[in-house]
Symmetry: C2
Subunit: 352 residues, 2 copies
DNA sequence: GTGAAAGCGCTAACAC
DNA sequence: GTGTTAGCGCTTTCAC
């Protein structure tokens, strides 16, 4: 049995349309691309035929012919993470608004896969590549990776959400320092002094920056830095939050507030606190980053820093299209975070 | 300023490789596709040049020439939902294993967008389309949509996760009846008789089937059906679960167990129960579907039905490639759900 | 085993 | 305005 048994096997082309309309293929192409004036009666006839046959111009041929695909490749770390998913959806929306298409690949954090997928995107001749998470977020840029990106950039613009030292690729990134500031201001105002940091790896730029800013702010407020309040490197998931908070509490370390690296880890932190018979926020306040739907589901609801995903997606796409089209944009653009206060943060408990 | 200022603007082709290797373009093509024997010394030389220039064959040209793109379009309802995200990632993995690429689009539940995106996928000449959620999951298939799909199927195989009456498209679907059975067996064994259904819309096939099976099972167990225990149509989100459970409890309806339509709504149900001063599972057991990461985060952890995402993704891709390549597969394939018992379900409380 | 040549479906000069 | 003619970069007969 053949795959296509019903209907004509080969698809209809602009030539078919042209013949039936009694015009040339170029004329059909012109109405398709709106690139030049076509006598309105011819135009109507062509449009009618396109409608009639539900003709879909072959994007491969188009891309081949004019060497532009109007497609942007998005290489994300893991779409199952709501942070990436939200950002991707906003990229999709922003791209649609300017008549671009985005294609998604997941590297799942593996460098090999990242390299392979970059190759795929090149084969597909995407007009630009946006890398969300992954190697482009590393604090210490990998040399080979930088070389690869530089080589890609000879043809295809690349924009990343972190940084890539030694490349001229554009960056759209959250102001991580500001994000820490917002949270610390909130907690300090509530009277907290023993503030713990849970989750994340310091080889990731944004996490590194957050830790730096944390120390600065303590100093500015004349609070002594206590290393016991900062968890060692971990992940960005529930388990890390749970384990690190357990370790801290089991060691007898008692913060009055915890800054978790994201909502996932915050959920783990909250569970640990609960299991230790402590109350949120009466005994310990919990705050975090990302403001995903989990923040609304937590009990109590979670105070979290929002990263204005729509703006973020728009800036990412705008930067990519600017590079494609030769428009100029800043080489580094920041997205400003906002605080969303909910029930998980409250006044510091009185000193014992 | 030109977009590409560094490096050569135009990309390298098989002709460039051919010339430098002292062979013809066809030979380069042959080593690229492994379609015919090439003398090993020539092959080596070509391979070396490909390596040297990091040559990426133009997928557009390839697709144009052989009218196969080895690309499968995935049209998902909303990738921000972890159910879809997990399934998509497994599709990606399964596709990779058989050397296909998947491209994702989100319809966000809007029919217009779904139609538009189907058009885009056709333009891209994907070899097959997999529709996850959306119109292909409707209980009552929309006539115009069915016509559109039929027209697409004349050229491109379509597989859906629900059904599409009046089309010959293949279906890979969760056994929703079985999924309800599993949960009901679990609850009945625990002694529950007053079992509530929360969340979901009955115009979605899987939800409809679950409701049907629910009634059958009650009858089989000689438990009278109480309409007050079944919430009216709602959504698949946290708010629905929260609102519907509130309404039920506020009305004085007191189930001993709740079956939520997914983990999102279960989280809402749990919050509502908590706020009513009731204990889970001592007063009310809560169980749900999807077994996403939220099930692990809930307090207590959530008993949920798992949909073996890996198998599901594999079957979806296998079905799609089978249709592309003319292999035969069942027109309807089922994915079997499994129960994952956690803390949110326990013995029914003693009758008052 | 290998090269020449045609063709996939479109766009973009270039004439008229 | 509109048709003719070259490509875009591959694959694939068809000779040799």
């Amino acid at each position: 049995m053949q795959p296509q048994k019903n209907g004509e096997n080969k698809s209809i082309t602009i030539y078919d349309i042209a013949k039936e309309a009694g015009v040339s293929a170029s004329t059909v192409s012109r109405v398709l691309t709106n690139s030049a004036n076509v006598r309105s009666e011819k135009k109507k006839k062509v449009l009618a035929l396109i409608e009639k046959y539900n003709f879909k111009p072959n994007a491969l041929a188009k891309g081949l012919a004019d060497t532009k695909t109007r497609t942007i490749g998005v290489l994300a770390a893991d779409i199952r993470n709501p942070f990436y998913a939200s950002l991707f959806v906003e990229c999709e929306n922003a791209a649609r608004a300017v008549d671009y298409t985005v294609v998604l690949c997941n590297s799942l954090g593996e460098t090999d896969k990242e390299v392979e997928l970059l190759g795929k995107l090149q084969e597909q001749r995407v007009d630009a590549i946006i890398q969300i998470g992954g190697r482009g977020d590393d604090l210490a840029s990998n040399v080979e990776y930088v070389e690869l990106i530089n080589q890609i950039m000879a043809k295809t613009p690349v924009v990343v959400t972190g940084k890539l030292d030694g490349t001229r690729c554009h960056v759209v990134r959250i102001d991580a320092m500001k994000a820490m500031e917002i949270l610390m201001d909130h907690l300090l105002e509530l009277g907290h002094k023993r503030i713990a940091l849970i989750g994340g790896r310091k080889d990731v730029l944004s996490t590194f920056e957050k830790h730096q800013r944390y120390k600065q702010i303590l100093k500015e407020n004349m609070i002594e830095f206590d290393p016991a309040l900062v968890a060692e490197d971990g992940g960005y998931n529930f388990e890390t939050g749970y384990r690190q908070m357990n370790e801290m509490l089991d060691k007898g370390v008692r913060p009055t507030a915890v800054v978790a690296i994201n909502d996932f880890s915050a959920m783990g932190v909250m569970r640990s606190i609960n299991e230790h018979g402590l109350q949120i926020p009466q005994d310990i306040s919990v705050v975090s980053y990302d403001n995903t739907y989990m923040a609304e589901m937590a009990i109590p609801k979670l105070t979290s820093v929002d990263y204005n995903y729509e703006e973020y997606g728009r800036k990412l796409i705008d930067t990519a299209t600017a590079m494609i089209e030769g428009r100029k944009t800043g080489q580094l653009r920041m997205v400003m975070p906002t605080l969303v206060v909910r029930g998980s943060s409250g006044p510091a408990p009185l000193e014992l």
